[in-house]
Structures are given as structure tokens and as C-alpha cells.
Amino acid sequence: MTIYIPTPLRTYAGGKDAVEIGAATVSEALNSLTSTYPELRKHLFTNEGKVRAFVNLYLNDEDVRYLPEKENSQVSGKDTLSIIPSIAGGSL
């Protein structure tokens, strides 16, 4: 599958905007990604190993949080996983 890396994290992924990973589940893909690029780990996961609250993971066009199997969802070679930090704010 292809994992798309957002602008802020490319520096920790060898400058790449996309990484090809062979994996059976979303969780396996993330583990493989962070094994190849260990510096990504602290940006994606809390110390307890959970995905940081502001990091959104989209399997194709689906939010992984709302998939029945969540991070254990199965993936295939044609799938894409987008890592997208959230965007919000306001004047007050």
C-alpha cells in the first residue's frame, strides 16, 4: 500500500511524500513505516503507543477511527493511507 506523508513529517521520512509498504493491516503498515523511519514514531504516537489525538489516519477516503476494525482494518496493495494532522483555530 501507499502511505502519504504530510509536509511536516517528510523530513523524518527521508524527504518522501509517499512510502510504499507491504502490510496486511493499517496497524502493521504504521509499524513498518516507523520501523523504517523511527523518528516518525514520536510524531505519530503518544508515549503510551496510541495515535496522537490530532493525527488523522484515512484509509482511502475513510477515517480509520470510524472503521469497524479501526487500526486492525485489512489493507491491500492498492489502498492508500493518508496521515493528516488536524487544522483548526480561531480568533479567541
Binding site: 511524500d17 490530532f54 493518508s82 487544522i87 483548526a88 480561531g90
Partner: protein, 170 residues
């Protein structure tokens, strides 16, 4: 201080967006390429503000919209360089909410103050630092470039070339 270079079309587009959505906050993404002194931006993509409960002083972009924007950027040979939003009847300065919710390290956050429906000051803040723990906003110089033409990708090439010539000329 880093320099955010925006084409005049982008500059006018994001300010116009803020006027259109007044008294609510507008928001969107900036597409471009990294330059020697900061981001070079040649395209702006509007996004919807999902904070309909408090749109006059809050904004939020749906993550699926960001996924699509990231896809669009890739297809255009560009990157997400940062984001913009407006502050209706508030200064063009980042707020504690802006800071707490800022996670795109190395990207530019552009804020336009819209006073009584009219865009006034536009400022940009680079989210500097390397982690959530040491992140900080640093104000950038906003350089509006009206001298480039063509597609956004061609404009970026022009910005790169002319910036290099400017630097060498100093």
C-alpha cells in the same frame, strides 16, 4: 525572519474569502514549494469551516477535505505549504486557540483581519520547532509577488528563479 512569498492572485483570493464569509471565519490551504527563505505559494484552496456552532471565532477543516487537498497538491506537483484563516473584527495575530490547534510544523499560518467586512492586515506565522513540545509561532515577512504568470507550477518556477536572482543581486 523567514519570508512567505505569495502571488498577488493568492493574496487577493484569501483576503476576498475572508470578506465573503464575514462575520464568520474563512479557512483554506496554501499550495506551493519550499524556497530558500520560506514557502513560495502559488495556489490557495478554499475549505469549508465546520465550526458552524461558533464560526465567528473558530474554524476547523474537515480532515477528509485535507486528504483531498493533499491529493490535489500532489497532482499539481505542489505541497501543502500552510493554511489561512480570517479573524473577523479581531487583529491579524495568532490566538492561544490558533497555537494550541497548530500541528503542521514548518508550515505557514496566514491570518487576515477582517474589520466590518473589509480585509485589513494579513500576517503570516511560521510554526517553528521540531515537536509539539517546542513548537512556536514566528512572524514572517509577507512578500506579495505580482510579477509572475502562468499555471501555479509555472509561477513557482518563476518565483524560485527570480528569488535566486534577487538573492544574488544583494
Amino acid at each position: 525572519m523567514s519570508i512567505l512569498q505569495l502571488t498577488s492572485e493568492v493574496y487577493e483570493a484569501i483576503r476576498g474569502h475572508g470578506e465573503e464569509t464575514y462575520p464568520h471565519e474563512c479557512c483554506g490551504a496554501l499550495l506551493g514549494k519550499p524556497g530558500e527563505q520560506g514557502w513560495l505559494v502559488a495556489d490557495a484552496v478554499r475549505a469549508g469551516n465546520t465550526r458552524t456552532d461558533s464560526a465567528h471565532n473558530r474554524y476547523h477543516i474537515a480532515p477528509i477535505e485535507l486528504v483531498r487537498i493533499q491529493r490535489t497538491a500532489r497532482e499539481k506537483g505542489l505541497e501543502i505549504a500552510g493554511f489561512y484563516h480570517s479573524h473577523p473584527d479581531h487583529p491579524a495575530q495568532w490566538s492561544q486557540t490558533d497555537f494550541a490547534e497548530a500541528h503542521w510544523l514548518g508550515c505557514s499560518y496566514v491570518i487576515t483581519s477582517v474589520a466590518h467586512g473589509k480585509a485589513t492586515i494579513t500576517n503570516s506565522f511560521l510554526l517553528a520547532g521540531t515537536t509539539e513540545e517546542d513548537k512556536r509561532f514566528e512572524q514572517e515577512t509577507v512578500d506579495v509577488r505580482g510579477d509572475v504568470r502562468g499555471t501555479p507550477r509555472e509561477q513557482i518556477d518563476d518565483l524560485e528563479e527570480t528569488t535566486s536572482l534577487r538573492t544574488k543581486g544583494k
